[in-house]
């Protein structure tokens, strides 16, 4: 984490240089033939070497946007430059300088991992003398050396994804686009991919990652854009975005979360002077309070609740997550929250990220 942050700070000072943009999308709009406006004016500026996240719920337009970046789709309006090449005027140069990992796993299941890698080496014209070495490197990287000569049709989802990720890198592209690379994977497989993406980024590759998992973006990305309904609603470092929405959040669980008790509790909290202007929301089993000086008002809060005759069965003070950012900006919960099993795995991971 520290390494990544130092690097992004270095870049911050260089930002005026301007020539170092890996991705430069200007006001991209995509309207499908049926009139659906999938992307409504997205502008992105990603510098070389950055790990950039593109976060949004299903249907926000992430895949459509990424397809315009990798020449699979021409924007109805706007322009895209990748590594300085215009995707409309010079798609060939763009294709040569990028790697694209599509949302659905794209490997030839009738071929072995080694053959798949060899095929992509040929697709990208990797010189024969370098091919075998590079294939070995990549097989090591994604841990598929043991099954390198087994046909990939029998592989698990995670193995296929890892193979797909390796094929994206055969030509050492300076920019790699990853479209929801970890969707549907178990936590262990996800962690391995994360590790892999961090390593390629450490080696100077610009990574553009779309995800619907907030924790994923939080853990990996130096900067990210939040996308909703085809529009970017916020861009910045995860820390910056989180600090923008307030210092801390109380999560209070009530012993008896009836409507009446909850209402009592809300009124009690509203009367606390230190929590003036706090954002109070009721949850399934209690309420959450987001306020600038929440931590200082902890004991006051307990006293107030006790006075109001509300008994508390659980309590938590936490720093805001990207989920809160999303909630604050859109008033909607992100879809990630619904996927409980996944979130449990993610929660432990992001906890690690914070302690580092």
């Amino acid at each position: 984490m520290t390494k990544g942050q130092t690097r992004s700070q270095q870049k911050g000072t260089d930002r005026s240089a301007e020539t170092d943009l890996a991705i430069d999308a200007q006001n991209v709009r995509v309207t499908y033939e049926d009139g659906t406006e999938a992307v409504r004016g997205v502008s992105l500026r990603v510098e070389k070497g950055e790990f950039f996240g593109f976060l949004g719920p299903n249907g926000a337009g992430k895949t459509t946007t990424i397809k315009t970046l990798v020449t699979l789709l021409h924007p109805t309006r706007g322009s895209v430059r990748i590594n300085g090449y215009d995707t409309a005027a010079n798609p060939q140069a763009v294709r040569e300088s990028i790697g694209y990992m599509a949302q659905e796993t794209s490997i030839d299941r009738e071929l072995t991992p080694r053959e798949n890698l060899r095929l992509t080496c040929k697709l990208y014209g990797v010189p024969e003398s370098e091919r075998e070495d590079r294939i070995e490197e990549l097989l090591d990287l994604v841990d598929l050396q043991d099954v390198a000569d087994t046909r990939s049709e029998t592989f698990s989802g995670g193995m296929k994804k890892r193979l797909d990720a390796a094929t994206v890198l055969v030509h050492r592209p300076p920019v790699v686009f990853l479209d929801e690379p970890t969707t549907g994977l178990d936590p262990e497989a996800r962690m391995r991919l994360w590790d892999y993406f961090e390593r390629i980024n450490d080696q100077g590759t610009t990574v553009f990652l779309t995800t619907q998992y907030l924790e994923e973006a939080d853990h990996l990305c130096e900067r990210l854009s939040l996308l909703q309904d085809g529009q970017v609603i916020a861009t910045g470092a995860p820390e910056t975005l989180k600090s923008e929405i307030g210092a801390a959040i109380f999560e209070v669980t009530l012993a008896d979360p009836t409507e009446q008790q909850t209402e009592c509790a809300v009124q009690a909290v509203q009367r606390i002077g230190a929590l003036e202007g706090a954002l109070i929301e009721t949850t399934d089993d209690g309420l959450s309070v987001r306020a600038e000086r929440a931590r200082e008002a902890t004991s006051e809060l307990f006293v107030a609740l006790d006075d109001a005759g509300v008994s508390v069965s659980g309590f938590d003070i936490r720093s805001p997550t990207l989920d809160d950012v999303f909630l604050a900006l859109t008033g909607e919960d992100s879809t990630a929250a619904a996927d409980e099993a996944t979130n449990e795995g993610m929660a432990s991971v992001s906890a690690q990220g914070v302690t580092k």
Binding site: T71, Y100, E110, K122, L123, G125, I200
Partner: protein, 305 residues
Amino acid sequence: MSGQFDGDGAVVSEPTQKAPGRSATADVRVSFRRWLVKNVRNPYVVFTSLVQPVIFFVLFVEVFGAVSGDALSQAFDSNISYVTYLSPAIIIMSTLSSAATSGIGLVDDMEEGMFEKVLVSPMNRSAMFLGKLLSEVARIVVQTMIILLLGYLLLTLKTGSSTGQYVRTGIPGILGIVLITVLFGGAFMAYSNIVALVSRDQEATIMFSNLLTFPLMFVSSAFLPLDVLPGWINAIAVVNPITYGVDSVRAIMLGRDVMTVLDVTAFSGLWSTVVPGITVLTGFNLILGTVAVRLLRRAARAEVQ
């Protein structure tokens, strides 16, 4: 800006700015070899190419051969063995089943994401399809040769005839037969890809190809001379490309004019069959090929506006 960390040793080193250039012929070769490997590994392909023709050939010779004597001598004055008469039908039928699977690979690629993967790579798109097409042509050439060999063996076993009795036009004749099967196959590869591109569904592609293969064979001159078949079959046979494929191959094997659907006399001997046959098949290729190429182009830039 690209920070290099040497610590990780075994991994990707510095990113290159651009992938090195390639040539279109190299791209054709890459695609050709990929599909060849895929075909050899696919049990369905091996079955339709190698096992099915052998089964049909032997069974048809044994069953229809037992009763075909009169029909053959009614249509041809000379004494022609049913093995020789049937060979073109088996050759064309196998070509048809092979060509008709062409679209399955395409649908497969689309479902597996390989189609998009190639589109986003710098590979030459036409070269990619040409390579796939050539792998199917190779398959047709190989199976045609195998069937010819099998036919010769059957004929020798049954009547003890020599090679000259089987393909009467010799080595040039064999080359001609291969060329016609490729031309015939082309039309049905295009047809199969059209079905694939319209349906985007494997099962539909397989169904349509089988639906077509079997009945069309019977409403042609494939198994028995049209003279002995009902009038309605004759009527359909005139517009059935199988008739032209089978008749052309048969004319070359027998070294004489065998076509009955069209009365062409402008050429001598077997050319009166082969020239109109090739003309009709080329027509089918042009029409179906144009449609297939259009659909393919549209698929390759499906979402691009």
